[in-house]
Symmetry: C2
Subunit: 412 residues, 2 copies
């Protein structure tokens, strides 16, 4: 039953709140009833026509932004509209999507998971088998390794929104079976050190994962925010590796093979490696490093003078967020934002800072620190270290420019 800090009333009034009898509310004076709107005058609709329902038609602009592949038109990446969301949960209809061969229509009654390789007893599991295992539920973010394509200055557009810059990022409550329990059932052979996870989509996406991670906190997930996985999220079964880059969380999971070395699949050789300045590529940079973004105000918004709550999201694949600082002067000074409870391991954390914008041009930034002490680097430090030919794991401090007219855009 905590209360937040009291709001300075003067700030609010300066922020343009409508007083009765003035402005937009001119029709209503204190003491006189509000006009009765049309929707109060007759019975409303019944939801029986569409029992699952949908958001209000007035929110039809709040959708994922799809980007097709020129080569494979059914292959998509779809960004979450972070600038329109509140709190930390992403509703399943807005969770980001990245697939390599479209969304297969998998029949759960026919789906099988085989676990084989360096195991004592290779086993084939039906979905009913997996549903009988002990279950676990956890709130975790997922982020595509290619989120925030800011390595090369020339490719960045000032008009990008938070959906464009950071929208391959979402967060849900995942429920499933601990992979460790399934591996205990098949019996891991001595010497096994890696596993291969394979999807049942037409890309048969495969990634090598260290056995240590599998035994630590990996989940074979079948539910997302209470209901079964959406088809585009891997229905009926996906791998969930808390804090690991999105593509390793294999969707439509059909096969796990144990071995003593990684398999050097396409997705860990030609893709999802980090090209270093010396021309060598770093493999297996699984963990998504500490990162944050201000979602309000953010790119594409037109800010009005007065009170404004700065709000955003912070996350780290290495544990909990410890601190988020915000600068409203281009990085000269920083203030601590409040972190909304609960603050959880490898989960989005909502941060907020009260602010008053007085109409001046400025640059807004957020800088997150995780519980390991890792701090978001500046763009100059990150690009200086990795070079402009890197593709993935961009986690530098993000900056929004607020112009004197209130327009917000990407700052570099």
């Amino acid at each position: 039953m905590r209360r937040g800090p009291a709001l300075p009333r003067r700030t609010l009034l300066q922020g343009g709140l409508t007083l009765a009898g003035t402005g937009a509310a001119a029709a209503a004076t204190p003491g006189a009833p509000l006009a009765i709107p049309e929707w109060t005058r007759e019975q409303g609709a019944s939801v029986l026509a569409a029992p699952y329902g949908s958001p209000s038609p007035h929110e039809r602009g709040v959708v994922r932004r799809p980007r097709r592949s020129a080569v494979f038109p059914q292959t998509l990446s779809c960004n979450t509209p972070l600038q329109h969301l509140h709190g930390i949960i992403t509703p399943n209809g807005l969770h980001f999507i990245r697939d390599h061969a479209g969304t297969p229509d998998v029949d759960p009654a026919q789906h099988r998971l085989v676990v084989h390789g360096m195991v004592a007893r290779p086993l084939i599991f039906t979905m009913d088998d997996l549903l009988r295992f002990p279950s676990v539920s956890r709130l975790h973010f997922l982020e595509c390794a290619g989120n925030t394509p800011f390595w090369r200055t020339g490719a960045i557009k000032a008009t990008w929104t938070a959906q464009d810059t950071h929208g391959l990022l979402s967060c849900a409550e995942w429920t499933g079976v601990r992979l460790a329990d399934v591996l205990a059932e098949v019996g891991v052979q001595p010497g096994a050190a890696w596993l291969l996870a394979e999807g049942a989509d037409a890309a048969a996406l495969t990634r090598s994962v260290p056995l240590e991670k599998a035994l630590d906190d990996a989940i074979l997930a079948y539910a997302q925010n209470g209901e079964r996985l959406r088809p585009e999220q891997g229905y009926p079964l996906r791998l969930l590796l808390p804090g690991y880059e999105g593509n390793t969380n294999i969707k439509w999971l059909r096969r796990i093979k144990l071995g003593d070395a990684p398999w050097e699949t396409r997705e860990e050789t030609s893709r999802y490696t980090e090209l270093q300045p010396d021309g060598r590529a770093r493999q297996f940079g699984f963990v998504m490093e500490v990162k944050s973004v201000i979602t309000h105000p953010s790119g594409g918004e037109a800010l009005g003078a007065g009170y404004c709550e700065i709000s955003g999201l912070a996350w780290s694949g290495r544990g909990r967020i410890r601190r988020v600082e915000v600068s409203t002067d281009g990085g000269a000074t920083w203030r601590d934002a409040a972190l909304q409870a609960p603050v959880l391991d490898s989960c989005l954390t909502r941060f907020r800072l009260p602010w008053h914008w007085q109409g001046e041009a400025l640059v807004l930034q957020s800088r997150a620190t995780d519980e390991t002490g890792a701090v978001q680097p500046t763009r100059a430090a990150l690009v200086g270290k990795q070079g402009e030919h890197a593709e993935y794991h961009y986690n530098a401090i993000h900056a929004w420019r607020v112009a004197a007219d209130g327009q917000v855009s990407v700052a570099l």
Copy 2:
């Protein structure tokens, strides 16, 4: 990076898990690849056709169960399918619904909230005004006061599922404005002790709420699980009173009036009062008391012998859940279930207990204790105290009967 308790392997194998080369998996032998299913042989679908998406067609049975009013056919109660859900979040498409005049189509640009009565400065707020206030996000359950209609033995059906018995219950992450901040803005007059909240639906639903609650943790909510409220949940604005009975969480909120006494509206005189054995009615029993239900196994399921994880939900309007005990022998003995973190104030808590069903007929029960020390009563104790003419706030220990053939039904 916690791990749960290790699972006894023998238990799992007895539970009917499919070994390679036997039973349903006869086509696959260790070392031979799984057959390639049809959905791996060609590109999958693109989500572009329906960007917001929907659950898999294979899950079409997982929907809310609507019950119409005979008098007002657009008025509904729709129960959440608890037996099909996992974790604690209810996806917005499955959140329970109770309305008194259907779902109005409110235009957020035209919607107004007036705050008046015993205030220093009556004010009218647009949605844009409210969105500029500081925001707060919290995970809370909502439960209809009439959930679990078990007061009169004759009305109970043995065939009821958990959706039928407890489905006017859901849980979401709510984001909005602290009502206390809005009240600070209008200035509460000395002597004010209650507020009236009024909805913009055709029922113009009105309830009196103690000012103390409004100043404590009440929220004017505009978002639910990240996105704006669904129309049937009060779009664009609802009152959220953590732990209070559902109907007080006024949807389509248009008016708050402060006064020194309750208004004695229809919904707190002819409805939502507790008829006591002496013929008197108790008013303003706002808080939903400690309660729990086992959702697996539950009514309508056919249980197979072997390992079974007992899983369910516990909640209390008075704070956090401290303990859930489960009995598999009709209440003779009780064992502590594990509580899934995070365990939050006035929020659903998922509990789990490993169990092995050996094919005997028995009765399953769960008993929750909250942080105030309140324990769920037995049905005999609750009905003995309140009588069979009570209508609301039934929170007794719930019992499922498991027959020798595995069929699960309501036990009384």
